[in-house]
C-alpha cells in the first residue's frame, strides 16, 4: 500500500518535471525564433524607409551597389551630409569614425576634442556597407532620445544658503578624484544604440561594474523580447555600436553632448 502511494507520488513528480521541461523548451524555442527574426525585420524597416527609390526618385543599376568606388563615395557623402547638417547648430555633437577609430566632439564644424577608440564592435546589420539603405540612414544625424549611464550628466550639488553670516562656511576644495566607472548607452531615434564602455584593463572593480552594467542591459532587452515573443510578435531589434575608450575620454564625451544631442557615424 505504502509502496503504491510512493510510486504514484514519484510518477506525478516525473510527469510534472516532463511537462515543465517541455514548457520551458517551447518558450525557449519561441523566444529564440522570434529573436532571430528581429534583425531581419529591422533591416526590412530600414530598407523600406531609406530605399533608393524614395531617396533619389530614380532607379539605379543594381550592380552599382556592389561597386567599391560608388559605395565608398556614397559613404563619404552620407557622413559629410550628416556632419554638415549638425554643424548648422551651435550645439556640441559627436562624430564617430570607425574606419580610423576616432570619436570627435565638434561644435559648428570645429573639432574640439578627439578620442582614440580602443576597440569597437558593430551590429551585423550595420556591417552591410554595400547596402544603399544603411548608407542613406547614416546620412542623417542621429538624435539621442534617451540614455542609461553609470555617471551623472550634470553632477549637481545642492547647497542651502546660510540664514546669516554666522552660518556661512567657505567652500571646501572639491573632490576631483575619479572613482566612478564610466559606462553608458545612448539610444538613438533610428533605433541604433551606441554603447560607450571605459577600458577596464587597470582596475578590477571597473570590470566587475561593467559586467553588472552590461548584465542589466541584457536583462532589460531579454525582458522586452520575452514580452513580445509570448504574444507572437517579432521584438524590436536595436542595432548597436559598442565602443571602448579611456575612462576620462568616455566621461568627456558623455558630459559634453547634450541630453538630446546628435551623433553621426562613419563605417
Amino acid at each position: 500500500m505504502e509502496n503504491n502511494i510512493e510510486e504514484s507520488g514519484l510518477k506525478r513528480k516525473r510527469y510534472f518535471l516532463l511537462v515543465s521541461a517541455a514548457l520551458i523548451a517551447v518558450v525557449l524555442a519561441l523566444f529564440t525564433i522570434m529573436s532571430l527574426m528581429a534583425p531581419g525585420k529591422k533591416l526590412e524597416e530600414i530598407r523600406l524607409r531609406f530605399s533608393q527609390d524614395e531617396a533619389s526618385g530614380e532607379k539605379l543599376d543594381e550592380r552599382m551597389y556592389s561597386d567599391s568606388a560608388y559605395m565608398a563615395l556614397l559613404k563619404d557623402r552620407s557622413y559629410l551630409q550628416a556632419r554638415t547638417s549638425m554643424a548648422e547648430t551651435d550645439s556640441v555633437y559627436m562624430t564617430i569614425n570607425l574606419s580610423d577609430s576616432t570619436a570627435n566632439l565638434e561644435i559648428s564644424g570645429v573639432t574640439v576634442h578627439s578620442v582614440r577608440i580602443s576597440s569597437y564592435k558593430v551590429s551585423g546589420i550595420l556591417c552591410r556597407t554595400d547596402d544603399y539603405a544603411i548608407s542613406s540612414m547614416l546620412a542623417q544625424p542621429m538624435n539621442i532620445v534617451s540614455d542609461l549611464a553609470s555617471i551623472k550628466k550634470e553632477p549637481l550639488m545642492i547647497k542651502m544658503a546660510p540664514k546669516d553670516t554666522s552660518e556661512f562656511k567657505p567652500d571646501i576644495i572639491p573632490d576631483t578624484a575619479d572613482y566612478e566607472p564610466v559606462n553608458y548607452i545612448l539610444e538613438m531615434d533610428n533605433g541604433i544604440r551606441i554603447y560607450v564602455y571605459q577600458n577596464t584593463d587597470t582596475i578590477k572593480a571597473d570590470s566587475r561594474h561593467l559586467f553588472y552594467f552590461d548584465l542589466r542591459d541584457r536583462l532589460r532587452t531579454t525582458w522586452r523580447y520575452a514580452k513580445s515573443s509570448v504574444i507572437f510578435r517579432v521584438p524590436e531589434y536595436h542595432p548597436f555600436i559598442k565602443l571602448r575608450m579611456p575612462k576620462a575620454d568616455a566621461k568627456i564625451l558623455y558630459r559634453a553632448v547634450p541630453r538630446k544631442g546628435q551623433v553621426a557615424v562613419y563605417m
Partner: protein, 261 residues
Amino acid sequence: MDNKTYNEEGLSEEQRTGDTEQPQLQSFQDKPPVNPALRKAAVRILWIAGALLAFILVTSFVLYVVPGMQEAVSRHRPRLVNDPELKEDQSYRKQIAALTRDVQRLSKKYASYTSGQSYIVINTTDNRFLLYRNKKLIREGFCSSGSYTMLKTEGERKWIFKTPKGKYRIQGKITSPVWRKPDWAFVEEGLPIPSADHHSRYEYGVLGDYALSIGDGYLIHGTLYKRFLGMPVTHGCIRLNDEDLEAIYNTLAIGSKVYIF
C-alpha cells in the same frame, strides 16, 4: 543477495548484537548499508544542483547565446567588386561624377567652418583650455569652470552655477575689470541683498587684469584663487591664471569664437 536483516539505522542483526567476527562486507557484491535520511538529503541536494544548473544554462542561453546567434545570422560580408564593364557604363559615370562633386562641395563647406582666425576651446570636464591661431594650437593650460552647485534659499530663489556649453563669441574686452556682485554673491555668504547700485556690490581687483565677455553675464577672467585652477569651482565664469589670461586677451579679438564643451 544475502538474507541478513537490517534495522532502521542500516545495521544487521549481527552487527547490532556485536556477536560477529566476520568482516562486514563478505564480498564485493554486498551492498553497503545505506542511511535513508542521508540518501534523501543527497537526492535533494542533487535536485537543487540540477535546478540551479538548468537555471544558469537557460539564463546564459537567453542573455548571451541568443544575442550571439542574432549577430551570427545577420552578419554580412559586403560583396564589393570592381567591375570594369560597369565602369564603361554611361549612367555609372554620371552617378560617380555627381557623387564626387557632392563630396567635394561638402568637404569644402565643412573645412570652411574651422576659422583661420583665433579661437579658444574650453573643456569644462577636465578644466583645461586650448588657444588656436591660424588653425594651430598656440597655448594650452588649466582653467576653472562652473561648480555645478545649486544654491537654494529657504524661499523660492535658486541659482545653478554651471558654465554654458556650445559656441559663443567674444562680445567685449575690458582691462582692470570691476566685479559687480550679483544677488547670489550676498545670499551665498548669508548677507542681506543691497540695493542695485549700493557700493558694497562693487569689488576691485578680484577678476584679474583683464576680462572677456561671452554674453549673458559670463566672463573669461583672472582669479585670486590660483590653487583652484583645474577644478570646477566657479559660479559659471571661466577663470584663468594671469599669464594665460593676458595671452588670451591679446590673441582674441571681439567676435572671436569661444567653443565650450
